[in-house]
């Protein structure tokens, strides 16, 4: 299971990004996870809860958006989304392809939070 390592990297990245964008309290992390990322969503969610304890992210939610596989069909010359990750064939014409455009993502794409509290003027 490498989800624990990934959760560590995610938290590290989020803490840094929060600091850079002036978010003092992170309430949610939004992440894109490709079907081909090799990451098990449930394992990552579990690891995340463990890893955030005692960090500035404690209490934050992890919101994961699944990204399906999008391939380029060399025959139709079009990008197509696959209903299932494999077989990697164009769902329209059946041509096999290994050209993956989307589906490998493991991306932190947004943070939700705010500048906590009283002293702040907004």
């Amino acid at each position: 299971m490498h989800e624990l390592s990934i959760a560590h990297s995610l938290v590290e990245l989020a803490v840094e990004a929060a600091e850079n964008s002036g978010i003092r309290r992170v309430q949610a992390l939004y992440m894109k996870l490709g079907v081909l990322s090799g990451v098990v969503k449930e394992a990552l969610e579990f690891s995340f809860d463990v890893v955030i304890e005692g960090t500035p992210l404690e209490g934050a939610r992890l919101v994961i958006e699944d990204v399906p596989v999008k391939i380029f069909c060399p025959n139709c010359r079009e990008a197509r989304v696959l209903p299932e990750p494999f077989p990697m064939r164009c769902p329209l014409c059946g041509t096999k392809t290994g050209q993956v455009i989307e589906g490998r993502e493991m991306e932190l794409y947004a943070l939700e939070g705010g500048e906590e509290d009283a002293g702040d003027d907004n």
Binding site: M1, A17, S21, G38, F86, E107, Y109, G114, E115
Partner: protein
């Protein structure tokens, strides 16, 4: 005074979670290129025969080139010792509980080696077809190995690693008949996840396919040098 207020807002980040690893891998790749090291990352399940095949490959390749290897395992130096029989420079990476190699482990382990003295560097990843898929090690190519004893549908069970590989090697091909390995079914499974991937069938016992692999590696290295103008 108002109660504690949070003015929630959403900030776009758009960063790869493994950014740190990827940046490090990029630096490594640059170093390898500058010093003329061609790097191959080998991945497979435990028991597919990576170490045996690599020992044989290094022995043969070592006659014409300077080859080195890094080998990752959860514990023990056993594989490094086996690989050293080939005469190549070898270092073991003990990962403890980590089921894959990361770019910083490679960087640390290379310390003290003069990369100018190496033509080919092989990285034998931890035996596992899941975790290594996520980590770029700065390699030029990723090779995925399957043995004939593992069953024909293995590629579709581990599509991520296959999809990111540049070459597939079928090991222990001398046992194909004995274990009733169904070649066509295997190739179909492979092509379902990585259409057009080149495949080599090898056997350390009979020597089949090993020289072919060497010829291929030499051509790949040469093409890479030409493309990048390195060396």
């Amino acid at each position: 005074m108002q109660e504690t207020t949070i003015s929630p807002r959403i900030v776009e980040i758009r960063q790869n979670v493994l950014k740190k690893n990827d940046l490090l891998a990029r630096d490594l790749r640059k170093r390898f290129q500058e010093t003329g090291v061609y790097v191959v990352n080998l991945v497979s399940s435990p028991g597919a025969g990576k170490t045996t095949l690599l020992t044989e490959l290094l022995s043969r390749l070592g006659k014409r080139h300077k080859a080195a290897a890094l080998v990752g395992d959860l514990a023990t130096e056993n594989d490094a010792e086996r690989l050293r029989q080939s005469g190549a420079k070898v270092r073991q990476i003990i990962t403890g509980t980590v089921c894959h190699l990361e770019a910083d482990m490679i960087e640390r382990t290379l310390e003290g080696w003069d990369l100018n003295e190496i033509d080919f560097l092989f990285i034998e990843n931890v035996g596992n077809l899941v975790c290594p898929a996520s980590y770029d090690l700065g390699e030029n190519q990723r090779v995925v190995l399957f043995s004939v004893t593992e069953g024909e549908d293995k590629p579709v069970k581990y599509p991520t690693i296959v999809n990111s590989a540049d070459l597939a090697i079928i090991t222990k091909i001398d046992l194909a008949e004995a274990v009733e390995f169904q070649r066509e079914r295997f190739y179909e499974a492979l092509n379902d996840v990585r259409s057009g991937i080149p495949v080599l069938e090898v056997s350390v016992r009979t020597g089949e396919g090993i020289d072919e692999w060497i010829t291929r590696l030499e051509a790949d290295r040469e093409a890479f040098e030409k493309a990048t103008g390195s060396l």
